[in-house]
Chain length 358, copies 4
């Protein structure tokens, strides 16, 4: 198919939550995808979307407002491409059912990310890992498949490190995050916990950072990913920010790396060639700032329509090689937008051939 000729019908699972709403927002007027179905939990099923979802940001697209909320089954939902914002507690079974029924599932849940035959992909970083889909179909007997995107904090880190890893070989990493409340969904973090406060803990986040990163920066090797040899010490914190995860990084590499050299490779980086020209791909993927006090989540999270990662404060590190700060919009780049970019890459590289044509 020619992507621009017509649009693929797509559905959103878990469409009423915070990430689900972001999918609905980002898919409005998408040049390649046509949002035709929304699905959510039993509680919402049957209601019009406008009643089932407490719409939180911007204007709810009129076409979606009137859609009936469907059940999350491949029987109720017919679209060949399915964006999943489901909670991990249900994503495991539901996503497998869709994949088995021949649909391509773009998942935000953690359930399948670390499975050997499931692509965990940030297109600019490791778009070539999508090739795992073939292995997945063979091994599981699925006609569809599951492609996952990374945890929202890891996404920021992997994007910032990808050019450094390619040029210098990252080996050790200290990563301390300051994460926005939208990362916890809705209702998520109680205001009594976070107003004027810091919560120095996010359940299960540090292990995700430490394990997903090495798969993302790993090497595709036929039927699996060879993990990158990077050891990470992660600290995950919640702060009183609406959108945008900020991460402080100290990085040790195999080869000598100066701040100037780091800046240069980051500025020059355009990511995996397959993403160039995709509708949601930010140009450039990394915005390198020279001001002393950037990136900042409230000011920089909207950059590249939420898809760019902003880095700054690239400076020498007394212990490792370089220190820097990276930040991106956790709901767009770190969740819904990342999934859409994954889907665009699949479309543009013809990997949807196995799916029923739209």
């Amino acid at each position: 198919m020619t992507a621009s000729a017509h649009r693929w019908p797509v559905a959103v699972l878990g469409a009423t939550g915070a990430v689900g709403q972001a999918f609905v927002r980002l898919l409005e007027d998408h040049p390649w995808f046509d949002l035709v179905e929304v699905a959510a939990s039993e509680r919402s099923a049957g209601k019009p979307y406008r009643e089932a979802a407490r719409w939180m940001e911007g204007v709810l697209p009129a076409a979606v407002a009137a859609m009936p909320v469907l059940a999350c089954t491949p029987h109720a939902v017919r679209a060949p491409i399915v964006f999943s914002a489901l909670d991990a507690s249900v994503a495991g079974e539901v996503e497998a059912a869709f994949a088995q029924a021949g649909r391509l599932v773009l998942s935000n849940a953690k359930n399948y990310r670390m499975e050997r035959d499931v692509p965990l992909v940030i297109p600019e970083v490791n778009g070539d890992h999508l090739a795992l889909l073939a292995e997945q179909r063979v091994k599981r007997g699925w006609t569809g498949g599951i492609v996952t995107n990374a945890n929202c904090a890891v996404t920021v880190i992997a994007m910032a490190l990808a050019p450094l890893h390619a040029a210098f070989g990252v080996r050790k990493l200290f990563a301390s995050t300051m994460q926005a409340v939208s990362g916890a969904g809705y209702p998520g973090v109680p205001s009594l916990d976070i107003l004027g406060n810091v919560i120095p803990y996010i359940g299960d986040e540090e292990p995700k950072i430490e394990t997903e990163l090495v798969k993302l920066l790993g090497r595709y090797a036929q039927d699996h990913i060879e993990s990158a040899a990077i050891i990470t010490s992660a600290h995950a914190n919640r702060v009183a920010v609406e959108h945008g995860h900020t991460v402080c990084l100290s990085v040790a590499c195999d080869r000598v790396v100066t701040p100037d050299a780091a800046r240069e490779v980051m500025r020059a980086w355009t990511g995996y060639a397959g993403v160039h020209g995709l509708p949601s791909a930010p140009v450039p993927p990394l915005i390198v700032r020279d001001e002393l006090d950037r990136p900042q989540p409230r000011r920089d999270a909207p950059m590249g329509r939420g898809m760019a990662v902003t880095v700054g404060r690239i400076r020498p590190d007394p212990l490792f090689d370089v220190r820097l700060v990276a930040m991106a919009h956790n709901v767009v780049r770190g969740a819904a937008g990342g999934s859409i970019l994954n889907a665009e890459l699949l479309v543009s590289t013809g990997q949807l051939a196995g799916l029923v044509a739209p």
Copy 2:
């Protein structure tokens, strides 16, 4: 003198600012010190304190409200003990003038902290370093002297590490801070910069953390301090918190240290013996919490009347030995309260003998 018999007259320099006001608050009803004079910049001099200061927290003590604001000179201010909340731009000259005039200056400014003959002291951590005062008087020909307390972020770190350093020998350190706006004084951080935001930069803070820490944890050696052999990679961030600096730490030591062993030495730690029983000394100095999500600045900064340091999340570190989070009230423990505790230690150890008796 017997400390309890009567009270030393004390003055506060820079009394109208945020730290100056904290001195006034903390000195109300102090058992050993009697606040008899307040001084500030030319602009305020001559006005009653209540008019010169925009009082910000709690109830302004009536006795102080009526005091005339004096000029910051040893001629205008007569008290033998002087707490200085002066800005670094003026502290250098003013504090020296007071020391030369025979007064003991407890300084919050950075100017003299790293001078070879000036004690940089957190009483529980290195109360013995006050012995440098003798060297200082000889070398500078002062009859008074200057004792400094540490930068507010370093104070949190040094308190948390002191027992670990004593037991295991700290060698490498990652420190990522999330600092309260009160650390920048008043008016300080504009609300447009910090509401719903993170600023990943605080001018001059990372070098202070890296240099002051090794002096604080160093060893007193006759006429100077032998720096501790600790290399630190620091990241300083400002967050939307009123009071309380939170620091994420990854720590590598000379000797093997498990989280349990770390917790144990921290729980057992009572600090330099000289501080036991001092009016402002918190008991215990370190509060070790087992909950997953503590310390938190809004909830834990008031602990020990603002003087305790709270630590938590002591856990293994993939790169170094242990990871943890430490937090304390930056204006009390990290500034005014720290100075007062320094003064109490000087009084209790008889080191004020050189001063004119009150």
Copy 3:
């Protein structure tokens, strides 16, 4: 009994929530009351309090930490005085059961507030209304009874208006509130809704303000309260504040009232004589400030240990007579502390005679 001779055993129902925790905090070392039992929902019953409650502010008193959480029945809970922080959905039945079983219930729930024979009391404002208890016992055949305190926003308004109403006869009122998130309990307001935002709606709050106020400022008439003839236009808003409800008021009175006259009667006001000297009664009950920009919730909510109401900006009103701003701590003065003061007044006036002696 002589209140000071020994202490009444008391219990807290709904002890694990935000208001319940405030009761536990405020009852620590109370001179007249001894917290001997805590009760909560089925889910918590049986667990030690420290495990059932996610303790949020300050240090959990050790004695309470170890208490087993009881069921909310007069069979399980034996104390003669019972502070209820129960949710309105269950308070109706539970509180009646306790009253019938001979206990005195100090309720924070809305269920009984507007019942003709139930005292709705802010001690300084209408402590004499407690006399309704006699009628209540006769009418309902209860040996115990229920005394309610007012909605937290109304409490601020009624305290500020009581002296004006007594002196000038309040007739019309505009009241626009800016209420803290703690008023919604825990987890309460999601942070995604309130960070950097205002929510101009609080369910059921405006009707409560309009109806409770006329009962509070009404006149005790044998067996009922004659409502005050005050018409109120209320606007209730939620703002990003932890504790402290702020209310803007425009007030029209029967008699001419100037700002100076208003200030004078407010400053002179000491409230219902019965409260003088009670342990939790703030002195003065109203703090009148002359600064242009006070009261402010973060700075003034702690005044009088959370029990004082602070008023300011008393100025002429182009439409009515005077405008002013009033503010108080919604969890202390507006909830738990108000209930405790009600209980103290009952003890001091001997109205607990009907209860089993402690």
Copy 4:
């Protein structure tokens, strides 16, 4: 001229501040205006704009970044149309100098707003008041002129009331505001004052609300404006919101008005006919929402690209006729965007004939 044929060269005075930056942002790619000059105080003059301004929101347009900052004199600045974001302390003289030199000044300062011959205009509300310009030129002998836009809080109120006033005759008004920190400019409100707090006072704001409103809703009568007969009781508050002033309103009218009738006239309102089709005019100017909890500043301030006013909670009022809440973006609709819309109206109605053609 045909507005679409070519673009008028325009300048911004006070271009480095918060409102000045908003002008620069909103004028990027404007179809009728071409930003050719930026001017600011002596301190900035001569520097490139990118160095003089601490750019705060979005991406600084490259063309402007390189512009040299000019002095605020009609000699240095040559554009015929001048947007002024000057502070009131200097606006008086500077704006007059520009008007005298034949330039049209669109002013955000308060200095000239209440002058009898100066238009105070919100285009949808009272676009016909621009006719005062003719009187102004005659009276002052200016070849240019000054047109002012209203205070940011008044703008919200006047927009919400305009259709009610036209249909029912507004007579009395209670207005309680909750205003964003950006209304105070930069650095503006210190974070220590507003984090987790409310400041119930904004200097000079309540008088502005009470006086500007009656001019805005007044009637053009040849050479002056007949004030509307509306009496307002205003309460101005600052809250921890970045952008968006929220106002609670209780409204009494000459004629009977029900909530339904109010909603209907607001929904039907399109404003002064001259604004229809102007590039910056939002359609509709008033967004009427039916949800219980809207408008909210963080969610609704961006509506209509910051130019729409959102109203909600239209309900009966116990004292007056109707109660409602109105909200708009204070920096866009309430400042820079309002000025630009004024200029567009002047262009489209041919009132720039007296100016040197661009």
